[in-house]
C-alpha cells in the first residue's frame, strides 16, 4: 500500500537540490558567455585602469565581506542541522546585511572606477558583469531574507530546513562567481 501513495523514488537526490543544481548550471553558462564577451572585447581596447593596490581597495574589501558572509551562511545552516534556531536567525541576519553592504560597495566601486556604460565597449562589459552579478546578489539577499522571515516564524527545524540549505547553496554560488569575476576583472 505504501507504494501506492509514496512510491519509492528512482533517485536519491532531493528534488529542490536537483532543481537548484540545474538552475545554477544555466546561470553558469550565462556568466561564462558574459566572460566570453569580456574576453573578446578586452583585446580590442586599451584598458588603462592601473593595477595598483589603491584601485583594488574596494574590490578587496568587498571580496572579504562576501567571503565572511558565505562563512556566516555556512555557519547558520550548520546551526539548523544541529537544531539551533537562534543561531540560524542571527547567522542569516548578518549574511543579509553583509550582502547589502557588498552591493552598496559595488555601486561605489563602479562610480569610482570612472567608467561609464557608454564609454567604450569595455565600460559596457565591466558594467554588465558587475551589474548582473549584483542582481544575483540581490536575489540571494531576497532568498536569505525570506529564510530569515521563515526562521523567525519558526518554520525550520532539524528535520525540515531544505530552504535553508538551498539558500546557502545559492549564496555559495554567487560568492564563487564573484571570485571568478574578481580574478578576471582585476587580477588577470
Amino acid at each position: 500500500m505504501s507504494s501506492v501513495t509514496h512510491p519509492q523514488p528512482m533517485s536519491s537526490i532531493s528534488t529542490g537540490r536537483l532543481a537548484l543544481f540545474v538552475t545554477l548550471g544555466t546561470e553558469s553558462v550565462f556568466f561564462a558567455t558574459l566572460l566570453v564577451a569580456y574576453a573578446a572585447l578586452r583585446g580590442q581596447v586599451n584598458w588603462d585602469i592601473p593595477h595598483t593596490l589603491s584601485r583594488l581597495t574596494i574590490p578587496l574589501v568587498n571580496t572579504g565581506i562576501l567571503l565572511i558572509s558565505a562563512m556566516m551562511v555556512w555557519w547558520s545552516s550548520r546551526a539548523i542541522r544541529r537544531g539551533q534556531a537562534s543561531s540560524l536567525r542571527s547567522g542569516l541576519l548578518v549574511s543579509v546585511l553583509l550582502g547589502l553592504c557588498f552591493v552598496a560597495g559595488q555601486i561605489i566601486e563602479f562610480n569610482q572606477a570612472g567608467l561609464r556604460i557608454d564609454d567604450q565597449a569595455f565600460g559596457g562589459v565591466f558594467f554588465t558583469l558587475i551589474g548582473f552579478h549584483a542582481l544575483h546578489m540581490l536575489a540571494g539577499v531576497f532568498f536569505l531574507g525570506l529564510n530569515l522571515v521563515r526562521a523567525n516564524l519558526g518554520d525550520f527545524s532539524v528535520d525540515r530546513h531544505e530552504a535553508v540549505e538551498l539558500g546557502s547553496g545559492f549564496w555559495y554560488y554567487v560568492t564563487a562567481v564573484w571570485v571568478v569575476l574578481f580574478l578576471a576583472l582585476y587580477i588577470l
Partner: protein, 549 residues
C-alpha cells in the same frame, strides 16, 4: 485491487473553479500541455499566413503585393514564430502531457512553475505580435545580425519587441526545461531505470538539457543588444571598440543546439510511433538513446558552421566542417534504427505512421542538404541562398512539423477520447507531403541558380520565375492540407467519444489508463520491469523482462 483503498487520496485535488477559470488557473500537466498545444497551433496559423504572404509576393517577378519593409517584418516574424512560438511550445506541450504519463507520475515535479512557464510563453508571444500594431514588427530576420540591429540601422522599436520577447520566451523555456529534468530524474515509476524510459522521454530529457545550457548564450546576446540600444553601450559597435561577430558567436552557440531542441522531440515521437505500427520493439533502443545524447553534445560544438563566410582561420573552418559531418553519424544511427524497426514488421499504415514515414524521408533529404552545407567551399557558394532555406525547411517542416503531426494523430485519442478520422487524415498527409515538396524542392535549384534568401522581389529572366511560381502553388496546397486538418479536428471533436484507452495496441504506460486520463493519471503507481510495460501486461508469457532475466 488496492485502487479502492487509494481513492480518498486520489480525489483530494479537485477543480473547484468552473469552466474557463479552471483553465486559467490550472496546474495540471495535461491541461497545461493542451494549452501549449492549442496556443502553438494558433501561432502556427499566424506563421503560416506570414509564409503565404511571402509566397504571394514572390510568385511573380517585380511583384508589388508587399512593400520591402513589410516583407522584412513578415519573414522575421515567420522565422521567429515557427521556431519559438510553434515548434518549441508544441514539443513542450507534448512533453507536458506525455512525460508524466510515460514515466508513471501524477504530475510534473513543479506544477505551479509549469503554469508560470506556459503563461510567460503566451505573454511573450503576444508581446512580440503586439509590435505589428505598435510601430512595426522586428525586421532583421530571426537571427538579427549585429550591427544591423543597432539603433542607427533599426530605428523602430521592433528590435525591442523582439529582444524582450526572446528574453520572456527564453525564461519560459528555461524554467520549463528545469521542470522536465527534475521530473524525469525524480518521478519515474518504481523500476523505470534510465534505460527503460520511453524514447520520447529520453528526447525530452536531452532537449531540456540543450535548452538549459544553450539559452543563456542567447540571453546574453540579447541583453547586450538591449544595453547597446537603450543605454548606449557599444558591444556590437565596431567603431567604438565593439565586436559585431560577437553577436554571431553568442547567437549560434545557442542557435545550433536550438536546431536539436526543435528536432529531437519529433525524433522521440517518431521513435514511439514506428514501433507501435510495426508491431515490434524499437530496433537498437540503446543505440538510439546514445545517439540522442551524442547529438546533444555535438550540437554544442558546431555553431561556427553558420559562419563559414565570416573569414575564419583555415583551422577553424576545418574543425567546424569536420565536426558538422560527424553529426551525420548519430543521425544516421537513428534512421537505420527506424528502418530496422519497420523491417519485416507487421506494418499498419495509419495516419500517424504515414507522418512518421514522411518524417524519415523528408528529414533524410534535409540532413543530406546539411552535409552539402558543411562542405566549406560549397557553403561559400550557396550560403545565404535559397539552398539554405530548402535545407532548413526539409529538417524543420519535413522533419519537426511532420513528426509533431504524427504525434497529434497518435495521441489525439489519449487526449480527447476520440480518434481523428483516418480518411480525412490521409488526405491531409498526402496534400501536405506533395505541397511541401513543391515548395521546398525547387528552392534547391533556386539556391544553386543564385537566388539570395530574404530578397523581397526579383527581376524576370534569371530562370527563377517558374520555380517561384511552382513554390507558391505548393504553399497553397500546404494551406489547403492544414484546412483539411482543421476540418478533421472539428468533425472529430464533435463526435461521440469512444474513450478507447489503447486504440493503437500501444506498449507504453500512457495507454494503460483511461482516455482522457483522470486528473491523478494513475490510480495505482505502476511498477515497470521493461521498456514495454503494457506489452508485458498484455503478453505475460512473452514479457520483455523475461529476456533480460
Amino acid at each position: 485491487m488496492m485502487v479502492e483503498q487509494a481513492q480518498p487520496i486520489l480525489q483530494t485535488r479537485k477543480n473547484r473553479l468552473p469552466g474557463l477559470v479552471s483553465w486559467l488557473t490550472t496546474v495540471d500537466h495535461k491541461r497545461i500541455g493542451l494549452l501549449y498545444l492549442y496556443s502553438a497551433f494558433f501561432f502556427f496559423i499566424l506563421g503560416g499566413i506570414e509564409a503565404l504572404l511571402m509566397r504571394i509576393q514572390l510568385a511573380l517577378p517585380e511583384n508589388k503585393f508587399l512593400s520591402p519593409d513589410t516583407y522584412n517584418q513578415v519573414f522575421t516574424m515567420h522565422g521567429t514564430t515557427m521556431i519559438f512560438l510553434v515548434v518549441m511550445p508544441m514539443a513542450t506541450g507534448f512533453g507536458n502531457y506525455l512525460v508524466p504519463l510515460m514515466i508513471g507520475a501524477r504530475d510534473m515535479a513543479f506544477p505551479k512553475l509549469n503554469s508560470l512557464s506556459f503563461w510567460t510563453f503566451l505573454f511573450g508571444g503576444a508581446f512580440m505580435y503586439s509590435s505589428f500594431l505598435l510601430g512595426g514588427a522586428p525586421n532583421n530576420g530571426w537571427f538579427s545580425y549585429a550591427p544591423l540591429t543597432e539603433k542607427l540601422y533599426s530605428p523602430t522599436h521592433g528590435m525591442e519587441f523582439w529582444s524582450m520577447g526572446i528574453l520572456l520566451l527564453g525564461f519560459a523555456t528555461t524554467i520549463g526545461s528545469i521542470n522536465f529534468i527534475v521530473t524525469i530524474i525524480q518521478l519515474r515509476a518504481p523500476g523505470m531505470s534510465l534505460l527503460k524510459m520511453p524514447l520520447f522521454v529520453w528526447t525530452s530529457f536531452v532537449t531540456s538539457f540543450l535548452a538549459v545550457f544553450s539559452l543563456p548564450s542567447l540571453t546574453t546576446a540579447v541583453l547586450l543588444l538591449l544595453l547597446d540600444r537603450q543605454l548606449g553601450a557599444h558591444f556590437y559597435n565596431v567603431t567604438e571598440g565593439g565586436n559585431a561577430l560577437l553577436w554571431q558567436h553568442l547567437f549560434w552557440f545557442f542557435g545550433h543546439p536550438e536546431v536539436y531542441i526543435l528536432i529531437l522531440p519529433a525524433m522521440g515521437i517518431v521513435s514511439m510511433v514506428i514501433p507501435t505500427f510495426s508491431g515490434k520493439p524499437l530496433f537498437g533502443y540503446s543505440a538510439v538513446v546514445f545517439s540522442a545524447i551524442a547529438i546533444g553534445f555535438l550540437g554544442f560544438t558546431v555553431w561556427a558552421h553558420h559562419m563559414f563566410a565570416t573569414g575564419m582561420p583555415d583551422t577553424a573552418l576545418l574543425f567546424f566542417s569536420a565536426d558538422s559531418f560527424l553529426i551525420g553519424v548519430p543521425t544516421g544511427v537513428k534512421i537505420f534504427a527506424w528502418l530496422g524497426t519497420m523491417w519485416r514488421g507487421k506494418l499498419r499504415f495509419t495516419v500517424p505512421m504515414l507522418f512518421s514515414i514522411g518524417f524519415i524521408s523528408m528529414f533524410l533529404i534535409g540532413g543530406l542538404d546539411g552535409i552539402h552545407l558543411a562542405v566549406v567551399p560549397v557553403d561559400w557558394q550557396i550560403t545565404d541562398s535559397y539552398y539554405v532555406v530548402a535545407h532548413l525547411h526539409y529538417v524543420l517542416f519535413g522533419g519537426a512539423i511532420f513528426g509533431l503531426f504524427s504525434g497529434v494523430y497518435y495521441w489525439f485519442p489519449k487526449m480527447s477520447g476520440r480518434r481523428l478520422s483516418e480518411s480525412i487524415g490521409k488526405r491531409h498527409f498526402w496534400l501536405m507531403f506533395i505541397g511541401m515538396n513543391m515548395v521546398f524542392m525547387p528552392m534547391h535549384i533556386l539556391g544553386i541558380l543564385g537566388m539570395p534568401r530574404r530578397i523581397y522581389t526579383y527581376s524576370s529572366g534569371a530562370g527563377w520565375d517558374i520555380w517561384n511560381f511552382v513554390e507558391t502553388i505548393g504553399a497553397g496546397i500546404i494551406a489547403v492540407s492544414f484546412l483539411i486538418f482543421l476540418i478533421n479536428y472539428v468533425v472529430t471533436i464533435r463526435s461521440v467519444p469512444t474513450h478507447e484507452a489503447d486504440p493503437w495496441d500501444g506498449t507504453t504506460l500512457e495507454w494503460m489508463i483511461p482516455s482522457p486520463p483522470p486528473v491523478y493519471n494513475f490510480a495505482e503507481i505502476p511498477s515497470v520491469r521493461s521498456l514495454r510495460p503494457l506489452w508485458d501486461e498484455k503478453h505475460p508469457e512473452l514479457a520483455d523482462w523475461r529476456d533480460d532475466a
